[in-house]
């Protein structure tokens, strides 16, 4: 499948990357594959003293 986002397609070309669509990866969408890391990130974000720059 052709890369739909033209900006990504251009960026990949510039970086010399061959982007290949893999349908199998779509099944992971909406599933958090690394929950521990995700939870740590959420914990940090909740406890950020200052708002984002």
């Amino acid at each position: 499948m052709k890369v739909k986002d033209k900006k990504i397609a251009r960026a990949a070309k510039k970086m010399g990357i061959k982007l290949i669509y893999k349908k199998e990866l779509d099944k992971y969408s909406g599933t958090i594959l690394f929950p521990e890391k995700h939870n740590v990130a959420n914990e940090i974000i909740k406890n950020l003293k200052k708002p984002l720059p």
Binding site: L19, Y21, L25, D26, H38, V40, L52
Partner: protein, 150 residues
Amino acid sequence: MKYERYESIYYSENYMEFEFISKGPKGEILKMVQFTETENNRIYNLAFGNKKNDGKLDDYSVNNNKDRNKIIATVADIIALFTTHHPDKYVIFIGSDMTRNRLYRMAINLNLSELKSNFEIYGLLIKKSKWITEEFEANKEYEGFLIKRK
């Protein structure tokens, strides 16, 4: 990035999941990268690890496949692609331990001038049990990193 990188990258339709194959003395190891939206919808978490033969993921294993720098350069390319699609989002990444955080810091340091021309880079620190962000300083220890396209 000055390092070699893996040039073939697999992606999902929404550009949230990516894969590439690490190749080295230990053979071929499938690496998976995923971005997930956090409780703050301006920030996406980056996580990556090995995809094992049984389909399970492992973000703690050490491969010793002699391609550490190539993997880091490839993950950096994936961040660049993701932030091309989501230019207004921050990406947070935290190493599994201090060794990995040091490794990430070194990777940023090595390419700091190049990275700074395209990205805002922040270090994450704990001060008085609160997390703070500050502009990334070379050679300073951080617990994690935040990056956003300029």
